[in-house]
Structures are given as structure tokens and as C-alpha cells.
Subunit: 321 residues, 2 copies
């Protein structure tokens, strides 16, 4: 199936659609971060979003547009992470049956959380089976609608509401930083930022171990890589999508990277100084921005803290390493 | 020196005085907490207050009332904890010289933070010297004004602004829970709650290891105890004050307790589910409330999360114990 690129009008429509279902998350500031950098940071706290990540915005926006037949048959998706829980929760709220394809070795807590939202979980062996193939087959057999994690216009438009809310609350910003996995968050936020703060320079940030989006934009085609080894588990995607690529190509100033130890330092800063828990992927934006030195001095900077779903054992083992 | 008991008018005046200097902290809710208890919880996030605790409210409110001579001579206080940093920060903002008396074995990070705000730190041996005596002598010698951590009408009135903001934001509540160390927070919040939600049942919560306030209210006189062994370092006071006692006696329904392991469980809940860092003392209110079973079902409950100043090493060691 091919889709047209979403536009800002789709983001605005998504905002109306998710109103009352998603949280309007707070924007936090930090005198410490500002004093250390000379910039003015505005942190959009999607770690405080429902189910702990921005993913709920896109999932809900997609499912809310199902017609009666789609609602009855149900939704299917594949994800071992936040998108699975986002779709499961949105489906429960909207009364839609949900099937989530997860690897057999997915963390028990995530499987339990997904089942807890009432979704059917189908497992597969991630080393010998292809989840997209399984998804397509199940979707065809049962007439389910597949909502992929990022390369879908309704998902992209939903994610963009995070930047829309941020800029509406704090006013124009000079720079925006958001994590990049498959590019749904960054491309959606880029649509909002370009409309609401036209001069804003938009940066995506990837883990240094998996800079496929950076390479894709620089080389002019979508680059595929092996699953990167990084603590930023929300950005371990192997490639971006054609829709997210097209928007990023048009709107992003650049894609930057942050190393795992820089993510840990940012995670420590958020917890120790700002008293909030941010998962490693959610730290990408600030970790990259703070390295830019003179380039951010005097600038008003929006940063999307994309999620807070890190279990406490892992959080503590990362901080003590 | 003897003081008259503060009233709600003093809390309202304090609110005007701290406006623009203190944060109006957010109130958070949790579907998970509500589903588990049948109550509706409203968490006032003083862990997100300036310097990481409610103490800034009282400190600023007290120092902002200094006359010209007091401002010139300076302020003095004794504290190894959040009150020290609150007075140091308020003094810096108001251009008042500050002297803080801290034990020689105070954590280096707290001494550094206090000095970082520009305060003079005087150390004493907590096993052989009396900090109140040292404070009085220094105050007399240099004409400094002593602002104690809790037993002062301006401090009490300032702390009460936390409950005032909470109730103004969410509407009337049926029950209010706040930690009790020396009682400044609870008594100030009681003044606000009695005015703004007259039927509200007001509960203070102490560490189980040091229930001097509970005993004081039940026995009808201020009880002194040895410094209790508890992870709730903000509530390791040996006795409440005559002002805080009088207000608590009049307004509190009861003083409850929570054990250290219950504080750890609450701390884990806040971090894992609500994505916020709350120090052990700040967990007292919720830890006690969630134990009440049927008594809280269907109730609208305000809980003051008093602070978030726990270093990450300690936080992780508590969670892994």
C-alpha cells in the first residue's frame, strides 16, 4: 500500500482526535541545564505520556480512524516495545480487538503489560522468522488492519502533536531535537515545527552505534543496517521508512548521534537534577544538543523526551556501570 | 522568642510573597494508583520545586520579610538537609548573607550545594556540640536572624502554600497526607486545607522508627526521642515544635507511620510507574495512605510529595536492597 505524505493539517486533525485520550504532557525547564550551556531548554515530557511514551499519540490517532468493519475485525502490529503497548491501550479504549506480534524472548514485563491491556500476543522466533511476513499473513487471514510502528501517515501525524503542543506552549523555538528510530516521531514533529516555528532548525538524533538515518540522509537513499548494539532500545531499528525518509529529507537540518555513555550521563542528569526518569532512547536529544557548544548558546531549544519506560533494575545497572 | 500561631491569612500572604520566586509545582495523577486503591490521588510534586523540596517555600517566605537591618546583617540557620539549601538559595536571590551550621560529617554534596549558593558553612561535631547553642551564639555575636527549620510562623506559612496550590488546582479533597519531621509542612498545609476544604481529614505521616509526633498528639505533650534510624532523612527530627504541635493538635485527624520497606516500595512505584524521583521522606504520605484500604475508597486524596533530593547511588542501593 502506498500513502501520500502527511501534512501539518494531518497533525492538527490528530491533535483534535487524541484530545482527552492522550495527556497534554508538561514542558519542563532546568536552570542548571541552561546555566551550563547558555541555551534555554524546553523539555517536552513524553515520559509522562500514557503508557510512558509518545507512541500512544500515533497509535491512538491511527486506530481512531478505523471504519466500522476495521474496528470489528481488529488491528495487528509487530513491536517488542512501546508501540505494542500503545496500540494495545488505544485498542482497548476504542473497543477494537488487538493482536500484537512479539518475539519469544521479549521481556516478560512487556508481554504482561501488553496482555494486561487485553491484547492477544502472538510470539515468533526473531532469529528464524520474519515478523512482517507473519503480520501480513495474519492480517490477510483475519481481515486485520496492520498499523506499523512508524511508516504510516496516521502514526506520523499523531507523533507530531508532541511538537505542536510544545511550541504552542512555549512559543517559537530556534532548534528542535528528537530521537530517531524509524523516524515517525521526528518526521511528525518536523511537520509541526515547520508550520509553527518556520525558522526552526530540526535535528534528529540516533544512537552512535546505529546511524542509518544519518547515512540515509547524507547518501540520499534509505540505508539498511544490522540491529545496532545500543542501550537506546527504542532506536534499534534497521532502517527508516519511505514516508519518514521523505519528510526528514525535506525538513531536517541534520541527523546527529549520541554514544551510550552520553545517554547514561543525560539519564543521570534528568534523574538527579530534574527528578524525572527518562529511558535511554528519550535521552538522545539532550545528549546530542549539549555537545554543540557555541552553536546552541542563546538559542531556544525544544527537546522531546520520548519516553520513560526503563525498568528500575536496568536503570540502576546503567547508572552504576 | 515567642510567636503567635500563624493563620490562613499568613499562608495567603506567603503565596503572594513567593510568587515568581518559587515554582508552582505540577499536580500529578496516576490511573494505576487509583485502580489499585479505588481512591483518586492528587500528588503535589514538591520534588520538582526549586532546590528539589518544599523547604524553599518557607525559607523564602521568612527571608522576604526581613527588614533592612536584618538583610544587611544576614541570616543563620542549622540544618544538614533541605532547609540549609532552601535558606542559602533564598538568601542569594534576596541578596542576604547566609550562614549555615552543618555537622562535620554532612554529605560532601550537600555542603558543596550549600556553598554553591554562596552561603558560609560553619561545621560542628554532632556528637559533642549543640547546633542550636552554636547558632544562638553566632546570631548574637553578629546580629544575625535565626530562621529555624520548622518552628517559626513564617516558615510554617510558607510551607502551607503547597496545599493551597494543590486544592486551588484540583478542588476540594477529602483527605490530605503530608510527611512530618518537625511539623512545619503538615501544620502549614493544615491551615490551608482547613480553609479551602473545611471537611478535609488531615493526616501527618512519620517514619515508623521515629513516631514522636504521633505520640505527642496522643499523649498531649511534645515527646522527645533519640534520632531515629530510618531512610527518611528529612524526618529524623527528635521532636516537633510548640507552634507546629499546637496547629497539628487542633487540625490533624491523626499521625500515621510508614516503615522503611514501605517507603522503598512507594519510591519504586513513583519511579517505575510515574517516572518521577521522590526521596524517601517524600514517600511517607502515599506509603501510609495506600495501607488504609476501605477507608480511602472513593475518596479524593491530596498527597504532598515533599522532595526529590536523594542521590542516585543511594536511590539505587535502596531499590536493590
Amino acid at each position: 500500500m502506498t500513502f501520500a505524505l502527511p501534512t501539518y493539517a494531518d497533525v492538527a486533525a490528530a491533535a483534535d482526535r487524541i484530545h482527552g485520550a492522550a495527556h497534554r504532557t508538561p514542558v519542563m525547564t532546568s536552570r542548571t541545564a541552561d546555566a551550563a550551556t547558555g541555551a534555554s531548554f524546553f523539555f517536552k515530557c513524553e515520559n509522562l505520556q500514557r503508557m510512558g511514551a509518545f507512541k500512544f499519540r500515533g497509535g491512538f490517532n491511527a486506530l481512531a480512524q478505523f471504519d466500522a468493519a476495521q474496528k470489528k475485525a481488529g488491528v495487528i502490529t509487530f513491536s517488542s516495545g512501546n508501540h505494542a503497548q500503545a496500540v494495545a491501550l488505544a485498542a482497548r479504549i476504542l473497543g477494537i480487538p488487538a493482536t500484537i506480534i512479539m518475539p519469544t524472548d521479549a521481556p516478560a514485563a512487556k508481554v504482561a503489560a501488553t496482555k494486561g491491556y487485553g491484547a492477544r500476543v502472538v510470539t515468533y522466533d526473531r532469529y528464524s522468522e520474519d515478523r512482517e511476513e507473519i503480520g501480513r499473513k495474519l492480517a490477510e487471514k483475519d481481515g486485520l488492519t496492520l498499523i506499523p510502528p512508524y511508516n504510516h501517515p496516521h502514526v506520523i501525524a499523531g507523533q507530531g502533536t508532541a511538537a505542536k503542543e510544545l511550541i504552542e506552549e512555549v512559543g517559537p523555538i530556534d532548534m528542535l531535537f528528537a530521537p530517531v528510530g524509524g523516524g515517525g516521531l521526528l518526521s511528525g514533529c518536523a511537520l509541526a515545527a515547520r508550520e509553527l516555528a518556520p525558522a526552526c532548525a530540526i535535528y534528529g538524533v540516533e544512537p552512535a552505534a546505529g546511524n542509518d538515518a544519518q547515512r540515509s540522509l547524507r547518501e540520499g537513499k534509505i540505508i539498511h543496517i544490522d540491529t545496532p548494539k545500543t542501550i537506546a532500545d527504542g532506536a534499534q531499528t534497521q532502517h527508516i521508512g519511505d514516508l519518514t525518509y521523505a519528510i526528514m529529507k525535506r525538513e531536517a537540518a541534520d541527523i546527529l548521534t549520541a554514544a551510550d555513555d552520553e545517554l547514561v550521563e543525560a539519564m543521570r542528569f534528568f534523574a538527579a537534577r530534574m527528578k524525572i526518569v527518562v529511558e535511554p532512547t528519550g535521552c538522545l536529544g539532550f545528549a546530542a544538543a549539549r555537545k554543540l557548544g557555541d552553536a546552541i548558546e542563546g538559542k531556544r531549544i525544544g527537546v522531546i523526551l520520548s519516553g520513560g519506560n526503563v525498568d528500575m533494575e536496568r536503570f540502576c545497572s546503567l547508572l552504576s556501570a
